[in-house]
């Protein structure tokens, strides 16, 4: 997200990288009323790669995604800069953005049942995109919709196109959502907990499908999740959000090998313990609960009350995001390290400094 894509993990597919990141979010703030849900978040999604944005409920991860897609409720206030595929989205008016949204980004929501129109066959909903944005006739659009359903590996797409959302299984509905998201081949896909409500086997199928589409289309993917397993399987980069701020980011392997932030470390241990822990023994847990939203930026580190490494400094001074390793940024005064040493400070190179 910060380094060049070439420096990413070896598992990243090689897709065109010449045109810069497909999504650039710079110092985004989202407020609901007075409450600060996203407190100055910056991240980038390189072309053809997947960035996992991890966090718990109320961490601000969905607000960030909705802010990027401009799908927040009108009462939310958003500041900061969002650039999609080189287009400064924040400079567009609401109307301009609406007409271009489907070409800029595809949004795959968690609850397809709520996101799809219950009183229209799914084929017509997909076809509508082509009628509105490509000026197709009703008939052309309905044929195109069948092709789009086949593209997301739905068997008998011509039958499914005539079905209503409630007649489809959860996995099928999610495929329909994906078909709509990729229909106009947008450079950016946002997957907002897209597999969280699915069975493990369906989740595996959907992950595989998105993996194939990512390779086929070269789209960048911003994947919002709280499931470290999905991150391990799918992401090239990871950004960890806590209480409205990004507290760690880096290439997926580096994060899993050596997390810097104690919160990331806790999440990874929790996951690992499920598989490797002694049966019957208590699970590893990160104690405490995420803090409630506040109206003013916090003075100290928001994780300090739950942190096993917290010191007096943590409650007084918010740690800035600092480079700890190539491509890795951590916002912590006492990051977890091989020797438990504090980070060396900001480094130069092609890293972009953030605070």
């Amino acid at each position: 997200m910060t380094a060049s894509p070439n420096a990413s993990s070896s598992s990243a597919p090689q897709v065109a990288v010449a045109e810069g990141p497909v999504l650039e979010v710079d110092d985004l703030r989202v407020r609901y009323g007075g409450l600060l849900a996203v407190d100055g978040a910056s991240l980038q999604v390189p072309r053809g790669q997947a960035v996992a944005l991890i966090g718990e409920t109320s961490s601000g991860k969905s607000s960030l995604a909705l802010g990027v897609a401009r799908l927040l409720t009108p009462s939310a206030s958003v500041t900061g800069r969002v650039s999609i595929d080189g287009c400064d989205a924040t400079a567009l008016t609401g109307r301009e953005f609406r007409t271009r949204r489907a070409g800029l980004l595809g949004y795959i929501a968690q609850d397809a049942m709520a996101a799809l129109n219950p009183v229209q066959p799914v084929g017509r909903q997909i076809g509508e995109l082509f009628r509105v944005h490509r000026g197709m006739s009703r008939r052309q659009a309905s044929e195109q919709a069948v092709r789009e359903l086949a593209r997301v590996r739905i068997d008998h797409p011509e039958i499914v196109a005539r079905r209503y959302p409630h007649q489809l299984s959860g996995g099928m509905r999610q495929r329909v959502m994906i078909a709509m998201a990729v229909a106009l081949s947008p450079p950016l896909l946002i997957a907002d907990e897209s597999t969280t409500a699915l069975d493990v086997s369906t989740q595996a199928d959907i992950l595989a499908l998105l993996g194939v589409l990512k390779a086929e289309t070269g789209a960048g993917i911003l994947w919002i999740t709280h499931d470290m397993g999905v991150v391990a399987e799918f992401a090239d980069w990871v950004a960890v959000m806590y209480a409205g701020r990004i507290v760690e980011q880096g290439p997926v392997r580096a994060i899993f090998d050596q997390p810097g932030h104690p919160y990331t470390d806790g999440l990874l241990r929790t996951r690992r313990d499920l598989r490797t822990g002694q049966p019957g023994a208590p699970l590893f847990q990160v104690a405490g609960a995420p803090p409630a939203l506040t109206s003013a930026p916090r003075t100290g580190c928001a994780f300090a009350p739950r942190c096993p490494r917290a010191s007096a400094r943590c409650t007084e001074q918010a740690p800035p995001l600092a480079v700890t390793a190539p491509g890795c940024l951590v916002a912590c005064h006492h990051p977890v390290g091989p020797a438990g040493q504090p980070a060396a400070g900001l480094a130069g190179g092609d890293e972009e400094e953030r605070s």
């Binding site: 993990s9 598992s11 718990e56 409920t57 109320s58 590996r153 739905i154 068997d155 008998h156 039958i159 499914v160 079905r163 299984s169 959860g170 996995g171 099928m172 495929r175 069975d199 493990v200 086997s201 369906t202 989740q203 595996a204 199928d205 992950l207 595989a208 499908l209 993996g211 194939v212 390779a215 709280h226 499931d227 470290m228 397993g229 999905v230 391990a232 399987e233 799918f234 992401a235 997926v252 392997r253 899993f256 806790g266 999440l267 929790t270 996951r271 690992r272 313990d273 499920l274 598989r275 822990g277 049966p279 019957g280 208590p282 699970l283 590893f284 847990q285 990160v286 104690a287 609960a289």
Partner: protein, 350 residues
């Protein structure tokens, strides 16, 4: 582990469970004997037998539509089996309301959705004490109040929470309230239906630990339903793997977790995401499959397929043979104590 009957049990309905005390020492707390449940032609459960030994945790695992929740509804006495028999402490579930109420008093339950399962208009003290009222176990008001506040403390909520409403709490907090309510009547069996599937990772671990601690300190038995094989393999003693209403594999959790014999259990196992990006498997394995064969079809819903004379997993099974489509595999028990319903089970090495 002797069946612990609470010493000071204000209301004992002795008439409804004459053999309970005699049987409690050896009989399983909860048992299904060839239980089937049909809903208008659909078979939700098909001859399911299971047995929950006193003091142990039985994990019920399967995907949606497998019949997990039907098992829970039957165990709670919310519905009756179409055929077969359920027993609690060795005694058949009573038919009458009063008898059923006596069984339910010994059941605590924590359900999946903490936003739906707590009445938003009731204060915490009322929610937690409600089972006492329903079972007419509430003693003096002060006594009840003390028990409620003890339990809220035990689940990690402050005394000050007593007069608050559920809306103040997030998912994890609400499940804590549900656990306090489940424990108030000193149950023998705790039934947990996906209690953490709607929670964040860090909350999930906290809530599971709370349940494990309650089970240990109160000497409870536990029925834990989940679709997460990792989680359930970690906390259950015995596993029952359900697929489309049938038990396809059952036995000691450690054995099944490490070495599934039934291809369905194996597929559940293989669908669990990796724990490290270096060990990715879904994308590598799935990408090939996804690009060649559609994973889902517009075929009729799985439950509607007649499978009386075949294996329920036959149409998804990578090891399927002709016999699987013409004959129903019986549940075969192996020397190591586990059973599987498969003609061509995986070998020990997988």
């Amino acid at each position: 582990m002797i069946g612990q009957q609470p010493a000071a049990e204000p209301v004992a309905p002795p008439a409804t469970r004459p053999a309970a005390n005699a049987a409690a020492g050896t009989a399983p707390v909860l048992a299904f004997e060839s239980v089937s449940r049909h809903y208008r032609g659909l078979t939700a459960l098909d001859s399911v037998s299971l047995s929950l030994a006193r003091g142990s945790t039985l994990g019920l695992v399967g995907e949606s539509g497998s019949g997990k929740t039907t098992c829970v509804r039957l165990a709670l006495g919310l519905e009756r089996p179409s055929s077969g028999r359920l027993t609690f402490d060795g005694v058949s579930y009573p038919r009458g309301r009063r008898g059923l109420r006596a069984v339910r008093r010994k059941l605590g339950f924590v359900l999946q959705d903490p936003y739906d399962s707590l009445d938003p208009r009731m204060r915490l003290r009322e929610i937690v004490a409600e089972p006492l009222r329903i079972h007419r176990l509430a003693g003096a008001g002060r006594d009840t109040g003390r028990r409620v506040s003890e339990l809220l403390t035990a689940v990690g909520l402050p005394d000050a929470a007593l007069d608050s409403y559920p809306s103040r709490y997030s998912g994890g907090g609400r499940q804590r309230i549900a656990i306090a309510r489940a424990l108030i009547c000193d149950p023998e069996l705790l039934i947990c239906d996906e209690p953490t599937s709607s929670l964040d990772v860090s909350m999930q671990a906290q809530i599971v630990n709370l349940l494990l601690e309650a089970k240990r300190s109160r000497n409870l038995s536990m029925l834990f339903v989940s679709h997460d094989l990792d989680l359930i393999g970690r906390i259950a003693d015995t596993l029952v793997v359900l697929y489309r209403g049938r038990v396809v594999e059952t036995g000691p959790a450690a054995l099944i977790r490490e070495n599934p014999r039934h291809p369905y259990t194996k597929s559940l196992h293989d669908a669990i995401p990796a724990d490290h990006p270096a060990r990715r498997r879904l994308l590598a394995a799935g990408a090939a499959a996804a690009s060649t064969a559609p994973a889902e079809s517009a075929a009729p819903a799985p439950e509607a397929v007649a499978t009386a004379n075949s294996c329920v997993f036959a149409d998804r099974c990578p090891r399927v043979q002709d016999r699987c489509r013409t004959e129903r595999p019986p549940l075969v028990t192996e020397p190591d104590g586990r059973s599987h319903a498969c003609f061509f089970p995986l070998t020990k090495t997988g």
